[in-house]
């Protein structure tokens, strides 16, 4: 890999823009493909550029059908937005970070979202709907609400349900969740929206401690990400 191309690749990662490295396996010649252009010594046909961009959209690195070229997709990291800088968040944030997620935590209550409690995590003390809109959740974003407080969770959910977030989960008992859905229905949301919400959050693994609840949420989110049928508790 040429030094210049490595630097360009790193710059795209820094900017959090998607990029794909295409390598001709025979001699190692390479080019970078972005959503808007290409760079590097290897000349690519329009079909090869299209294939690279399709792979970027699908987040699927791989070898060309004729076996001559390898396309390595470097998409920006998956994101997790946590609403509520609570005890569970202190466990969930580092677990998600270890799993490759860029974590943001939203909590307008000043004593909760402190750097002391959440080192190395992006914190926002804006109101959850404004904070969520600023973060622009997309199809590579997971959203978990943990406050139990309708004043905080509901505005975040309004934005979440209008986004393409791949995982939306809300902490709270079945009763709390039923009341949440009632309020959302009054706001105009429908059963189709409710099917996207995982509530109560997490797989039913009998989690009790904050760490165990964080594990159950991580596990459920992972199953959803890979399109695996989530486990259900025995009846």
């Amino acid at each position: 890999m040429q030094a210049e191309l490595f630097d360009v690749l790193m710059a795209h990662r820094e900017q959090k823009t998607p990029v794909a490295m295409v390598t001709r396996l025979e001699d190692g010649a390479q080019a970078l493909v972005t959503p808007s252009g290409t760079e590097g010594a290897l000349d690519l046909s329009n079909a090869q550029i299209d294939e690279a961009r399709t792979r970027m959209r699908d987040d699927r690195s791989g070898i060309s059908a004729d076996g001559t070229h390898f396309t390595h997709v470097h998409n920006p990291p998956l994101r997790m937005i946590i609403v509520g800088a609570v005890h569970i968040s202190q466990l969930l944030a580092p677990m998600a970070t270890l799993s490759g997620y860029a974590v943001s935590i939203i909590d307008p209550r000043a004593s909760f979202a402190t750097e002391d409690r959440f080192p190395d995590v992006e914190l926002s003390d804006d109101w959850p709907d404004e904070a969520m809109e600023a973060l622009k959740p997309d199809s590579r974003t997971a959203i978990v609400t943990l406050t139990h407080d309708p004043k905080l969770d509901d505005p975040a959910l309004h934005v979440a349900l209008k986004s393409d977030a791949f995982y939306i989960a809300c902490l709270g008992s079945k009763r709390t969740h039923a009341r949440r859905l009632e309020r959302l229905r009054e706001e105009g949301f429908t059963d189709a929206d409710f099917q996207r919400i995982h509530g109560p959050a997490g797989l039913p693994i009998g989690a009790v401690s904050p760490a165990e609840i964080a594990i159950s949420v991580m596990a459920e989110m992972t199953a959803v990400k890979h399109g695996t049928e989530p486990l259900r508790a025995a009846a």
């Binding site: 890999m1 490595f6 790193m10 190692g28 070898i63 390898f70 970070t97 270890l98 490759g100 190395d120």
Partner: protein
């Protein structure tokens, strides 16, 4: 071997950038194709420097030894290589995958400044 730092361990390219700043000579191995139950998905990377230090992985540890040897060669001669590993591929390589899968690994040198 470098200290295990979970916060950075999976950012292979970021670590390669650090190694470059340290002036190390580096090769990187990438899983480019898999068949069957191979342990690491396409795109997984292992970076190796000329002292044999490594970060990341291209298998569950089954083929890393052989990949490191080829990577050190690539650091010397500058030639990229494509390596095939399978469970029965004993003639070409003295290692195989216990899981029964097969992987194709591309090894390239990171050129200096």
């Amino acid at each position: 071997m470098d200290r295990y730092d979970p916060g950075q361990q999976d950012d292979i390219l970021g670590r390669i950038a650090e190694w470059r700043r340290d002036g190390r000579r580096i090769a990187v191995a990438t899983v480019i194709k898999t068949w069957g139950s191979s342990p690491r998905p396409v795109g997984s990377q292992l970076a190796i420097d000329d002292s044999g230090a490594m970060i990341g992985s291209v298998s569950g540890g089954c083929i890393e030894g052989a990949v490191v040897r080829e990577a050190m060669q690539s650091i010397q001669d500058g030639k990229p290589r494509t390596l095939d590993f399978g469970v029965s591929d004993e003639q070409a390589w003295d290692v195989g995958l216990a899981c029964g899968g097969e992987v194709k690994v591309y090894v390239e040198r990171i050129e200096g400044q």
